[in-house]
């Protein structure tokens, strides 16, 4: 026995003579919307999809850079006696949370091609590398005698540079994939 085609199945729902015209149109729209949703959920890893996912990686790297910059300002403010220690601790704590969230965000994206995956891995390294200096900044705020502010700031600077490089690489691949 031949299985009914999807067209036949849709027709059986939308062409029922007992349905008034308005409801028939409504049923057609509903079925088409369902088909659209199902089609959208299917695997469609293309070059453009990778470009979109890399856009998300780029956003996470921006979040990470923002967290590093926040921590840097907080450490400078605290070292100069311009920001109360308790407040600086909250700023850096929030920055650590953002930086960790960015690592999680980059680590969970799925890419379809090897070169895009390589760029993602580099971005993941840079984002992971930024978490350490940010949490070290929080440790320094709790025990300023453990190291100098300059050391903490230097580590944050290095993390910021690594993130900038990773961002540049991601944008380059993203641009190459969206270019006609």
């Amino acid at each position: 026995m031949r299985e009914p085609s999807i067209h036949a199945s849709i027709s059986s729902v939308t062409n029922r003579p007992d349905l008034p015209p308005a409801r028939r149109w409504g049923a057609t729209a509903l079925v088409l919307a369902l088909v659209g949703v199902l089609a959208g959920c299917g695997p469609a890893a293309t070059r453009t999809d990778d470009a979109n996912v890399l856009g998300s990686v780029s956003d996470h790297l921006d979040d990470s850079s923002s967290a590093v910059a926040s921590a840097e300002l907080a450490v400078r403010g605290s070292a100069a006696g311009r920001l109360p220690d308790v407040t600086a601790d909250v700023v850096v704590g929030d920055a650590a949370e953002t930086a960790t969230g960015a690592v999680h965000g980059i680590g969970t994206v799925v890419l379809s091609t090897a070169d895009a995956e390589q760029v993602r891995d580099d971005a993941l390294d840079a984002a992971s590398g930024a978490v350490g200096p940010v949490t070290a900044a929080r440790t320094w705020l709790g025990r300023p005698s453990s190291s100098s502010a300059d050391e903490v700031l230097r580590a944050l600077d290095d993390a910021a540079t690594a993130l900038d490089d990773a961002s540049g690489a991601v944008r380059h691949v993203q641009w190459a994939r969206t270019a006609p």
Binding site: D63, S70, L73, G77, R82, T87, V90, V91, T98
Partner: protein, 409 residues
Amino acid sequence: MKSRLLTVALGVLTAIGGFLDAGDLVTNAVVGSRFGLSLAWVVLVGVVGICVFAHMSGKVAAVSGRATFEIIRERLGPTTAGLNLVASLAVTVLTLIAEVGGIALALQLASSVDHRLWVPVAVLAVWLVLWRVKFNLMENVTGLMGLALVGFAVAVFLLGPDWGELGSQLVPNVPVQESAAVYWYFAVALFGAAMTPYEVFFFSSGGVEDSWTVKDLATSRLNVLVGFPLGGLLSISIAACAAIVLLPAGIQVDSMSQLTLPAAEAGGTLLVAVVIVGMVAATFGAALETALSTGYTISQYLGWSWGKFRRPARAPRFHLAMILALVVAVGVLMTNVDPVAVTEYSVVFSAVALPLTYLPILVVANDPEYMGEHVNGRFMNVLGTVYLVILVVAAVSAIPLMIVTEAGG
């Protein structure tokens, strides 16, 4: 005469201090750190809008001696008023959650104790004030303490920016690194933050609490027309602080703590302490107002006795409604939801509910049965209608923009 002047000055000062809430603090800082001052025009549009509708609802309260929502139910019937109630109540409770979260985050800044531990304390304090403190005292203390947010305006001057460059940012334009959709999403969010529905319900019910009469119309007008625009300037100064310090450093605001960084750079620990006091007062005052608005709208719709001028035992269901709203706020915040995210969503959903809130006010303000000779003049009606069109556009575009931009990316 002297005491009259003092009353007027106090009203204006509390209007300035009470203008800002968690939504304004967060949204202006986020916008300043991403778009500079290129969205400052939205604050201007929002401030004029809130002035128009707060003035109208204050006038309704002063002339009729009744709160806006009572009249809306009577004038438009239970179904239309019910729709209005559902929309504005949902947004007001969401705003209350954001405000309680805001208090907790601001207290965390002063103590470094996790905000989740401050949530129950904040709610208990809000409830105690609602239960025990007189309306005038509550309004004046939080409003005056909220003036500490002037610290952000002071910070702008102390930071010594290039005024020409800062001024050039006022021209509306989409920055290269942002898309037009994201720009308009934040425009809608800023507009929603400036025109949150609870403000007009609180303003009109507060007029009844304060026993306003026609004689108080001039004072009410002055509070609105001077206090709110100056409050709007504070909003812009928060965005300016973010534009001067955070934007060049590549910092995108995603937490309330980042608001202290420009203050620290400008004025050191003292200014940081001042703005933290302002943040606690602004969010605490707004939590009181939103909790009261919840009680006001439900009680006025259902015909229960309401008001802080009555002892709690004489308005038990009014107080119960507020307590339930506060319990919901604690419950939601204890799920570990991010209060800043709640705040961002609350201002966008505010924008969605705006037409349902403001259309009935325009209708009532034009009804001679309630307003007598004080019905809206032509100028107010033209302004009100223009704003209704803007409100509808903002409401219709809010959710699609939220989806397209993934809530601002």
